[in-house]
Amino acid sequence: MKNVFLGKWQNIVGLNFFLLFYGFILFYGLKNAGFQNTFLDALVSVLVLTPLLIGMSFLLYFYRPKKDSFLYILGLSLFLTGLYVGIVKSLHLHLDFMVESKKTLSETMIFRWFGTFIIFNLFGFICFLFYVNKEKAQLHAHLLTSEKLARDTEISKLQYQFQPHFLFNSLNSIYALIGSQPEKAREMIVLLSDFMRFVSNKDYNATSTLKNEISAIEMYLEIEKVRFSNRLKTQIELMPDTLNAQIPILILQPLVENAIKFGLYETLDQVEIKIYSYLLDNHLVVEISNPFDISLQNQKKGTGFGISSVKKRLELSYFRHDLVKISEIENVFKIKITIPQV
């Protein structure tokens, strides 16, 4: 019911006062019929008018023609005016306390017709516009939610894919360590468990702090260091003001894995992977760099699913295409991602 009559019941009450005032002025000024008569006349008019107006708003709420709405409201107003005049006329004739104003009925008839017709028209158009706007707003809100839903689904499709070979190779390393360095094996199992817990069952549309994300990356890199017996070196430098910056969950992990793939899996020598973070104009910037083997395919070309999915996710989340930048200088591959901070 709330939505039906211009949103609120208060509006009807307000409208009635206005009409009462209008009728009172009209009749009092015109015929000098006496305060009591004019007041009664206006009151009766308003009591008749109100249900008709409510009826009109109901009608417009449930049915609005797509075409010729102007004619529709005009016709409706004419019909309701006729109905109103008919009812008022018969009330004047049959109600005892209205007998006095009966005399002036014919004289005021033209005003009754004209004034009421205008009132119905004005009211009709206001109602009409109000409902049309409301419908549009609802449609827009609906579109927004379905768009967001589609975007969320798309983002979850780009979900971080855990590399099974990483698990099996790590287990193989632990298997070897159990014989030679049982303490180290225990450490590895805890690292691997913590890392696995971190990457599984994540709400992919949420954000986390940089500190949190880096802690998982550190576990991952620690495991790789054990697997490759310290052929891997890492340098992680985070500016203190970036630690609590917000970042989409697991957005860095595929980039670090990419750095490991080209930096560690595809090269022979000692490698160093560097991660830096800093704030710039209310944006968090994270840079990840790794050396690669120039004699093999350019890393840029063979970026694969990792980097492209990160790009896509950032585009969908922030509606910007300039958040991922890649550079290759000599044998160092660097990826820089920018995360807008709210």
Partner: protein
């Protein structure tokens, strides 16, 4: 004594293999390598009877390394990737061990090797029988003792030459022992078009097509190489270019 070479890029993975092998007194480890390049050199010089070979390694994968060897030792693959198993057996692998490797599973592989040896089964790769089910983007070529890795997008065209093919890049020509129809199997068919019985062309290097003799055409590449086009090849080429 059976001479063994171990090839794996992870030291801890090698450690397990060494541990297991010391319990088999008739095996002797004569060397270990951490990538395909070093593995290749080691096998050429040491001529082992058996190798334990990882698949995913820097520079040269286990499969690429095997293809380069003229005389192949017996191979037991050790890897975390189970999707390579089918391919491994096409290389007449003795066995295929998945990491982490259990001791009794390792011993089974060892007995398989011993059985094969007593039956005198030679582990030889029949390159014609290999199907390239794993997508590739490069080939490895032996060039006067050195190994060259050439990515497909650097290759202008291939030319058949008996049992060999000539591989042309913008600057150089290489020879590889493989047939043209074999190499065709692992090329991207939208990019590489077989324009002639003896030629496969990389469309990225095509400059124009010129008439040649009566009804024939010849493709001119941006490197100014000329590649023959047969009638059937002309239709394929037109299809691929959408004209």
């Amino acid at each position: 004594m059976i001479k063994v070479v171990l090839i794996d890029d992870e030291p801890l993975a090698l450690q397990i293999l060494k541990e297991y092998l010391t319990e088999n007194s008739d095996f002797i480890i004569i060397g270990e390598a951490h990538n395909g390049f070093d593995g290749y050199k080691l096998i050429q010089t040491e001529k082992p009877d058996l190798i334990f070979l990882d698949v995913q390694m820097p520079k040269l994968s286990g499969f690429e390394m095997l293809e380069l060897l003229d005389q192949k030792p017996s191979v037991i693959f050790t890897t975390a990737f189970d999707q390579y198993a089918v391919k491994a057996f096409e290389y007449y692998a003795i066995d295929y061990l998945l990491k982490p490797i259990a001791k009794n599973r390792f011993q089974t592989a060892i007995s398989k090797f011993k059985n094969a040896k007593t039956l005198n089964l030679k582990s030889e790769t029949d390159s014609e029988s290999i199907t390239y089910d794993i997508p590739r983007d490069r080939i490895v070529i032996k060039e006067s003792g050195k190994l060259e890795i050439i990515y497909f997008d650097k290759i202008c065209f291939f030319e058949a030459n008996d049992d060999y093919i000539n591989v042309y890049t913008a600057s150089k020509m290489y020879k590889k022992k493989i047939t043209l129809s074999k190499i065709e199997q692992f090329l991207n068919p939208t990019k590489f078009i077989k324009t002639h019985r003896s030629y496969i062309l990389n469309l990225d290097y095509l400059k124009n097509i010129e008439p040649y003799e009566k009804e024939n055409f010849v493709a001119v590449l941006i490197t100014n190489h000329k590649v023959q086009i047969s009638k059937a090849g002309y239709i394929k080429l037109k299809d691929a270019l959408g004209i």
